[in-house]
Point group: C2
Chain length 298, copies 2
């Protein structure tokens, strides 16, 4: 890929720019906040400002609610031949882009499955995407060239491209990312009702189970709001299981012997299903394996 631009030099945009620089591409860096773009450039992520002629690919690394307007603006300005984004939801931004009259033939949505608790260009890491899945959501009208460039971007960043439909993507992240985030938030909320002595007993388990709840509330509102129906569906199923467990615990605590036995059996089944579900998370491939796979594909 001879030329690229990154619009939005926060954590993800700057990390992409740093990864491109490491592969010999010097991206143009744009941000509504010029200071953020200068900071990214100062880190060696590229050069500040717009190119004189359109680049091959522009990466829109802006929050999900700004993707459509940003695409519309930079297609009108002729920033790039092709466009992709990195937003955590894919259906809604594309619908909004269609409503604004964007040229969707030259846009393929993307979502690198990587992040950090920190945000901003100073938290960026050129290896943030190494070995991580990078979802691409082409549609029936996408140009093969556009998809090819988005795929090449993912590969240059060391990620593993995964092509799926945008609705399929949004259901998947409702399950693997958005519901876990809300569950962790609700669990962490319980700690507001504990006293300091109780909280002294916090161990690594609680720290891990609530880590993602520390993420920025405004950003996560945008992400989850843009995928609300799919998240509500998974969370409602979670709530059904939860009620059965609460009932089982009440039987265990005070029920007659046969209810007590049934409650205990239900609790064991619920915990065993958790063990099974946990085991479904794929083991990570070894670093070398990922990188050679990427090198072969790029």
């Amino acid at each position: 890929m001879p030329s690229a631009a990154v619009v939005g030099t926060g954590l993800i945009g700057t990390s992409i720019a740093l990864a491109l620089r490491g592969r010999g591409v010097t991206p143009y860096l744009l941000d509504r906040n010029p200071e953020a773009a200068r900071t990214a450039a100062g880190l060696g992520a590229g050069v500040v400002g717009a190119p004189r002629t359109p680049v091959d690919l522009a990466v829109l690394a802006v929050p999900p609610q700004h993707v459509a307007a940003t695409l519309h603006e930079y297609q009108l300005l002729g920033l790039a031949d092709d466009f992709t984004d990195v937003a955590s939801v894919k259906a809604r931004p594309q619908e909004e882009a269609a409503e604004l009259g964007c040229d969707l033939t030259r846009f393929v949505g993307g979502h690198p499955m990587a992040g950090r608790e920190q945000s901003g260009p100073l938290a960026a890491q050129g290896d943030l995407f190494h070995g991580k899945p990078w979802v691409l959501t082409p549609h029936a009208g996408s140009l093969p060239r556009t998809l090819g460039r988005a795929r090449e971007l993912a590969e240059l960043c060391g990620a593993v491209p995964v092509v799926m439909g945008h609705a399929e993507h949004d259901r998947a992240v409702a399950l693997t990312s958005h519901t876990p985030h809300l569950v962790a938030s609700l669990l962490a909320t319980r700690l507001l009702h504990g006293d300091d002595t109780q909280l002294r007993l916090a161990g690594q388990g609680l720290r891990d189970a609530t880590r993602i709840a520390g993420g920025d509330a405004e950003l996560w509102t945008e992400i989850i709001a843009a995928n609300a129906p799919a998240v509500a569906e998974v969370l409602a199923e979670f709530a059904l299981d939860l009620h059965e467990v609460v009932d089982a615990l009440r039987d265990l605590g005070a029920g007659p012997p046969e209810r007590h036995r049934a409650g205990r059996a239900h609790l064991t089944t619920a915990l065993a299903r958790g063990v099974q579900g946990r085991a479904r998370i794929p083991a990570r491939a070894a670093g070398g394996l990922r990188l050679s796979g990427v090198a072969a594909g790029s």
Copy 2:
């Protein structure tokens, strides 16, 4: 502490024995399964078998449902002057011990807040308790000498003794350990309903949020069953918050504009409360600080 015995040479018992050996105490090791005691001794954790005269302190490192019967048995046999345990729940075993007619003046319950996903003596680590809280739950009738020896045990293991009532302990771990475990299990259970493509998108957040769900289902049934009323209470409050979030997401997905706005505001508030709750988990003290504090106290 001149002499000690450890009954139950699993992960926790063997880790305690290794820690004592590192401080110059050679514990007697007993286990219903002689092979486990021999394995622990082979790791350098102490000597297999019962002492000829009572030791100062015996540590009952057996599952919560066996604490009372084990205490009763070894008090009759005269294994030790004083006894403590390491079970994750404290009220129920003590009630059961009272029913069996144990001498509770010479028993002080204990709970070191440390563990690993693995179990058995081969997973033991002499530094497992370094800097971790170690709860002690004396009651009105406990001898000061018994409490002193239990406290000395915690300090010899490098832990930080925390004295509280047994009901207070059980409410605290319902909040900081048992509810998080069940929530992680129910979250992991959702993954049984995802397909392989969806699960490929699993990131570090999901891995962390569900890590504790991998724990042994039988052991956790015993732990949570012995604390069922306190866990049910926290989990029921979690369920109330959850329902409000599900309603907010449904309003966000399909509600009229004013419901949509209210749903969005509710979502932001829920996420912000999660950030606040997460921030209540105390930062860990630096290792050096912990160890010097322990050295001063022991």
